[in-house]
């Protein structure tokens, strides 16, 4: 890494600006997390009072209120907010797994196989990529309801099936296919030919030869889909109405309007929504930045 020999004024100014910007960016998060443990008197800023930048004392009262309302879940009684968290995690994890599998298979053949209709399929994927999901909200809502996703009568299924109303469109979104195609271009054709000559089956070839090469893309796609599904607000908003199938984002949004005068509770909810996803991001940060850049720069 090349370092500046002497510190230029430009450098100093930009560092100061960067730090200021960073504070501005991080402030909402800081406010949520500290707000969630503040006493009521510290949170509400009335006219003429000064803002309490730092909590004067720590209280878990807001969380106690957040976890007060409970629900039955597979026979166990759990707080509703935890159920929302579970729903978010379920949607994100299942969407991630399904997307990784479907997109890597599709991306691989689109990059490496010549077959009839390839051009049409690929252009269809690319064209649909830029479309906002909200455009298809109403027909999608009617469709998943006709398919029986939202009103299953089977006890166990009815707990999670509505979540697939969000999962399926997320998995169907073609960005993943596009990304994995970019990565699959890196697979040397000679290796695939060699495997074929050795008599390996298509699936074995994919798993043994192609997969190790597209692995970084896999990681990127996984975390990208996870975060995407987690934050897929419009779809969640329209598809999931019943309290028990809400995601944490929806739950927080409804808390915000339902309990709008209980800031502490809302902050606790917002913290519960933000912190897990931040942890996931920080843990897998490396794959993420790697994958994002590799996928994009290839163009």
């Amino acid at each position: 890494m090349r370092q500046e020999k002497k510190i230029s004024p430009y450098f100093i100014v930009s560092v100061i600006l960067l730090v200021l910007l960073a504070i501005f960016f991080i402030f909402p998060l800081y406010w949520i997390i500290t707000g969630s443990v503040k006493e009521k008197s510290d949170i509400i800023v009335k006219a003429g009072q000064s803002v309490k930048w730092i909590p004067t004392s720590i209280s878990w009262d807001n969380y106690a209120r957040l976890f007060k309302s409970s629900t039955q879940f597979f026979g166990a009684k759990i707080p509703m907010a935890i159920r929302w968290l579970f729903n978010s995690v379920f949607i994100s994890v299942v969407a991630m797994l399904l997307t990784c599998v479907t997109a890597s298979l599709a991306g691989y053949v689109l990059a490496k196989k010549r077959f009839w209709g390839r051009g049409v399929v690929f252009s269809l994927f690319v064209c649909a990529m830029a479309l906002p999901k909200q455009v298809i909200l109403i027909p999608l809502l009617q469709q998943v309801s006709n398919m029986g996703f939202l009103s299953s009568k089977t006890p166990v299924l009815s707990e999670v099936l509505p979540l697939f109303a969000v999962i399926c469109p997320v998995v169907g979104w073609p960005f993943g296919v596009f990304l994995m195609k970019q990565f699959s271009e890196n697979i040397p054709t000679s290796l695939l030919e060699a495997a074929r000559i050795d008599g390996a089956g298509e699936l074995t070839t994919f798993i043994n030869v192609a997969f190790p090469i597209i692995k970084p893309g896999f990681g990127a796609l996984a975390i990208f889909t996870f975060i995407n599904a987690w934050n897929e607000y419009p779809l969640q908003l329209v598809m999931l109405q019943q309290d028990s199938v809400k995601t944490i984002s929806l739950g927080i949004a409804s808390l915000q309007s339902e309990m709008s005068n209980d800031y502490g509770l809302i902050m606790a909810g917002a913290a519960l929504a933000a912190v897990p996803i931040i942890i996931v991001f920080l843990c897998f940060q490396k794959y993420f930045t790697q994958g994002i850049t590799m996928g994009a720069v290839k163009g």
């Binding site: 599998v101 029986g148 019943q242 028990s244 309007s257 709008s260």
Partner: protein, 446 residues
């Protein structure tokens, strides 16, 4: 490693296939016209026990606006009591709010996942009923019941097109204004407010009060005319209609802001430009109530029995007053709380839902308690005075004589509401009041 990958692949494939299978089989929603499933015609006042149970477990979904107060815990209590008495029924509660609840209901009904019971008011319920989404409740309004509900206005509010009953009412109360007494006292504006008798007052008093409040600045703003959404919009309509005794529905039954309405809007616009009132361009009632609770504003135009509970505070005294009018005789809007049952093409669920709402409204123990939890007055005379010795409640009860005509079940009510708050925004933005009123009249009746 290999095994794991193969497994993942197989899993995803089978999932995808099963998903596709779903599409094939489940896509035939029943198209039976909405009819009321036959349910046992029981006497309303009798509390149901689990007698009618046939052994089959039924789960019903109950969606509730915060009419029992926000997060009061009462819904859970009454569910527990009902489930104990009716072990064959399980009730799932979802609480919704007035800001985003209406659109949630639209999505759910569109998706065929409407709740079984909704606790709401006639405005939306009758809309859903007329659209064919509800179970007719005519069998619950038998002669004994009708004899017990003497307020014809309430009964009328429960009927949809063709006189079908869609809402089962429980309680009723007026909408009025709330004032911050200490702020009025400290700014010297209290002299314009009548806290004696039935507390009626005039438009002039109101103007003077606001001017005084603005002058002495006990709160950041005297009051906020919220117009950012339809939540609680009856408050702003009541304000406009009372100032110069106008009505929102003309004699021909059409939506109409008449000359007096225009005069009232002009007055509000002038008060806004003088700083005697503020306009809440992106606020709904919930935001305004919050500013009232936090003493940013010294008054609220959306005070009522539920909000008195939800936005209670110990920091100042909240006084209830009727809306001011030029002749000192207010015409108040009122709330009718009640339940409806959605037609989910399942007789067992509809039946359980009816049993549940009878339990909430009519059970000898829980019925009166439910009314008290809504903090309003029972629609049934046989419940008697539930608030003996409560002066505040006696005051509210005395306002019944000022109830105006009920228009929330009129055709086009749902269309009118967004037009109303957008019209207010335009008026406060300085647009020509008459032109905006004309525009409203045209569009609301389109």
């Amino acid at each position: 490693m290999n095994l794991k990958k193969t497994l993942a692949f197989a899993l995803s494939l089978s999932m995808a296939v099963s998903m596709a299978g779903c599409g094939g089989t489940g896509s035939a929603p029943s198209t039976a016209p909405s009819t009321a499933p036959d349910s046992q015609p029981s006497a309303p006042a009798v509390s149901d026990s689990g007698g009618g149970a046939t052994g089959e477990q039924v789960t019903i979904k109950w969606w509730a606006f915060p009419t029992f107060g926000v997060d009061s815990g009462y819904e859970e209590e009454v569910i527990a009591a009902f489930e104990k008495a009716n072990p064959d029924v399980k009730v799932e509660l979802t609480t919704i709010d007035f800001t985003s609840g209406p659109e949630q209901l639209t999505s759910a009904i569109t998706a065929g996942t409407a709740p079984d019971i909704l606790f709401d008011a006639p405005g939306r319920i009758i809309e859903y009923g007329n659209a064919g989404n509800l179970v007719a409740l005519d069998d619950m309004f038998d002669s004994a019941y009708l004899a017990d509900v003497t307020n014809q206005g309430v009964l009328e509010a429960c009927k949809g097109a063709g006189g079908t009953y869609y809402m089962y009412p429980i309680s009723s109360s007026p909408f009025y204004m709330g004032l911050n007494k200490e702020a009025l006292v400290s700014s010297g504006a209290i002299e314009f407010v009548n806290l004696e008798g039935d507390r009626t007052w005039t438009t002039e008093d109101f103007q003077n009060m606001c001017a005084k409040l603005a002058e002495n600045g006990a709160t950041a703003v005297p009051g906020i005319v919220y117009c950012g959404g339809q939540g609680g919009d009856q408050g702003t309509r009541a304000l406009v209609n009372n100032l110069y005794s106008s009505t929102i529905v003309g004699s021909d039954g059409k939506w109409n802001i008449d000359a007096n309405g225009v005069k009232a809007l002009q007055l509000l616009a002038d008060m806004y430009s003088k700083g005697h009132l503020d306009a809440g361009f992106s606020m709904a009632a919930a935001d305004e109530l919050q500013q009232f609770q936090q003493e940013t504003a010294a008054m609220t135009f959306c005070w009522g029995t539920s909000n008195e509970v939800s936005y209670a505070t110990e920091d100042f005294t909240q006084e209830a007053v009727p809306f001011p009018s030029d002749d000192g005789v207010p015409e108040l809007e009122y709330l009718v709380n009640g339940f409806c049952v959605f037609d989910n093409k399942d007789a067992a669920r509809a039946d359980a839902a009816k049993r549940f709402l009878k339990f909430i409204c009519d059970d000898s123990e829980w019925g009166p308690q439910s009314v008290i939890k809504t903090n309003a007055f029972p629609v049934r005379d046989s419940f008697g005075d539930l608030y003996p010795g409560d002066e505040h409640k006696a005051l509210l009860a005395s306002w019944t004589q000022y109830y105006g005509p009920y228009y929330n079940t009129k055709d086009g009510f749902a269309t009118m509401r967004p037009l109303w708050f957008n019209m207010l925004q335009n008026v406060f933005n300085g647009n020509d009041v008459q032109a905006e009123a004309d525009n409203f009249n045209t569009q609301a009746n389109a």
